[in-house]
Symmetry: C2
DNA sequence: TAGGCTGCGTGAAACGATTCATTGAGTGTG
DNA sequence: CACACTCAATGAATCGTTTCACGCAGCCTA
């Protein structure tokens, strides 16, 4: 095949895309009728309808969404802004949103804010211009001024993975509970010194999980300051899990924690691998608990005890809430909070 | 806060969203001038411009993308259809697409086809109606009739992760090379019986990787039928990696492969964990190699040798290609193929 | 048979931005 | 002083739908 033949293979040169008028002409009806066939087929007699339908097929007519939207006022799309689509948590969230949105034949606009209010705002503006039906946001900045302004201008906003402290609707997970479950579990197993591989408390999830851990200790009638050993990590990845585990192993036997609660599974993986490589038996030497229940958590050499969050469901529910709010028949709760679930595996329980 | 006060807090009731006309009126200019301020500010005198700009600010004017698009003919958005946004590979791909698309201020429409031609086609129709500038697709079906039809109707189409056997532009990875690299590596280390934990050959990646494995053996002057032991898996997850590893361990010592090449890292994880738990030393007893280089591959108890694919770059490049093709100044290659890279770690090389 | 329905279809008026031929004011030149 | 020329700004036409007030048969009922 020569370069020429490739050129010739190019799509039909500048043929005008057919409009309702072209269809109407071919089917010998008015444009209104074509529109009716498209949107309220029951109002058109079968004869006429089939004539219009074959005209549509013959011309390969594709309705223009922008024209429809211009007239109808509302778009058939929804925007979602997450911290990072590359992160498994948000990935599952997005998939949940997509599943709900797609059921209504709506399109999903996605972008990542990278936790940068600047980027978040750019995406918000873009989506507002596109006239989306609403926006699902995992907010980057603590101050929600942009979001409130957007809402005031008429766009529905639903927060995800954050509890709407203000009056914005939201769908979130109870991180306090999510941390108290595994810590209670460790206490029950007899652990009395528990390390917390936590992240910076400016991240609200980290702050909530610290609170949850303390709560569990208090509920057990113990003193959190004695039981919990906070070991903050600058960044929540496996490397820092490794480093923190090494620091932990360097502690004298007498004061060394016998269990580690990690703020996520990646950190737990780093910690776990370090312990195993150092010859420390898990869970008998040191128990390890993670958070998130990533797909590979159950498959590690020592299967990982962890906390499962209903990520897909959060996304689905947030989208559902958005559509409900948009539907004017706004009934039902506007602030949903899911309970996470403890998944016990060998890394904490020798019997599992 | 009572339910009543919540109701009262609702956004301004049905206030009309301002249009260019409102802005023009307030700024005492014509609509054309407002449009110029928006799109070609340099053509407007500074005095007038600032008057218009403050009117825009005062009214909180947000231009309607659908009106713009209706007139301009082309949308400021791009569609992407992948097999599953929940899959890390596609997740990274999507992020690459987003990064390229976002740089041009375009919006990204995303959906998952779940490898279902039906769903894929629905998404294609939706995006065509939205008038997207082009569509990036990881095709579900082998037959590309819909895609060709779409292209013929004027929408730019770029395939991802698939080599454009037909004349459609594409961005892909060389899977044959991707499999031959690790197999050559294993042969070099002295392995003469290598198990292939592969998936169904109907998946083109699996077929290509089998071909690549055989190629490497042939290149080493050996007989593929003697060296390679194909152990097909019905599904590419960690559980089946575990099962296959158990089958492998059940083979008599004399014929048992000394190395496993897995079609992805999840399968490799299943295999690795099973070996370690069975007390088989890795890599000295059995070496393991994966594919994908997922974020946790380096952090396992035995860090995993694997093949890294430039996923982010594939997405970025595909989006870049799309925009170039759309730009009419269509120069440069329309079929890009990336080379994967072998990442050697301890699971194959004791010295690593 | 008049009057009132019902069911189908009609076609013009939006929707809100962009474009472009045109007007008008101001400036420099012969 | 008339003329050409530039730079700003104008405003009507346009994009492709949806909507809605009407018209027109045909049919039933009184």
């Amino acid at each position: 095949m020569t370069a020429d033949s490739v050129t010739t293979a190019a799509p039909t040169p500048a043929r005008h895309r057919p409009s309702v008028m072209d269809v109407a002409r071919l089917a010998r009806v008015s444009v209104g009728t074509v529109s009716n066939v498209l949107n309220r087929p029951e109002r058109v007699s079968p004869r006429t309808r089939s004539r219009v339908e074959s005209a549509i097929a013959e011309l390969e007519f594709v309705p223009s969404e922008s024209a429809r939207q211009l007239r109808a006022g509302r778009a058939r799309s929804v925007g979602a802004i997450v911290l990072d689509v590359g992160n498994p948590f948000f990935t599952a969230l997005t998939r949940g949103v997509e599943d709900r949105i797609g059921a209504d034949g709506l399109a999903l606009l996605v972008s990542s804010s990278d936790d940068d209010p600047e980027r978040e705002n750019r995406a918000l503006q873009l989506y507002e211009q596109h006239g989306v039906r609403g926006v699902l946001v995992t907010p980057a900045s603590a101050e929600r001024a942009d979001l409130h302004a957007l809402r005031a201008r008429g766009t529905t906003v639903v927060l995800m993975d954050v509890d709407g402290e203000d009056e914005l609707p939201s769908v979130s997970v109870d991180d306090v509970l999510g941390a108290s479950l595994p810590v209670a579990h460790l206490l029950e197993l007899g652990h009395r010194r528990i390390a917390l591989f936590n992240g910076p408390l400016t991240i609200h999830q980290c702050a909530d999980r610290l609170a949850g851990a303390r709560l569990a200790v208090v509920n057990a009638g113990l003193d959190p300051d004695e039981v919990l050993v906070e070991m903050p990590l600058p960044s929540l990845n496996a490397e820092h899990g490794t480093l923190a585990a090494e620091r932990l192993l360097a502690l004298p036997e007498s004061t060394r924690p016998t269990a580690i609660f990690c703020v996520n599974d990646l950190v737990a993986l780093g910690a776990l691998s370090t312990l195993v490589r150092a010859g420390v038996p898990v869970p008998d030497g040191v128990a390890v608990v993670g958070y998130d229940d990533v797909p590979w958590a159950a498959m590690l050499v020592v299967p990982l005890t962890t906390v499962r969050q209903p990520t897909h469901e959060i996304g689905w529910t947030a989208a559902d809430l958005l559509l409900r709010l948009d539907g004017e028949d706004a009934v039902g709760p506007t602030r949903v909070r899911f309970a996470p679930e403890l998944v016990v595996r060998r890394s904490s329980d020798p019997g599992a």
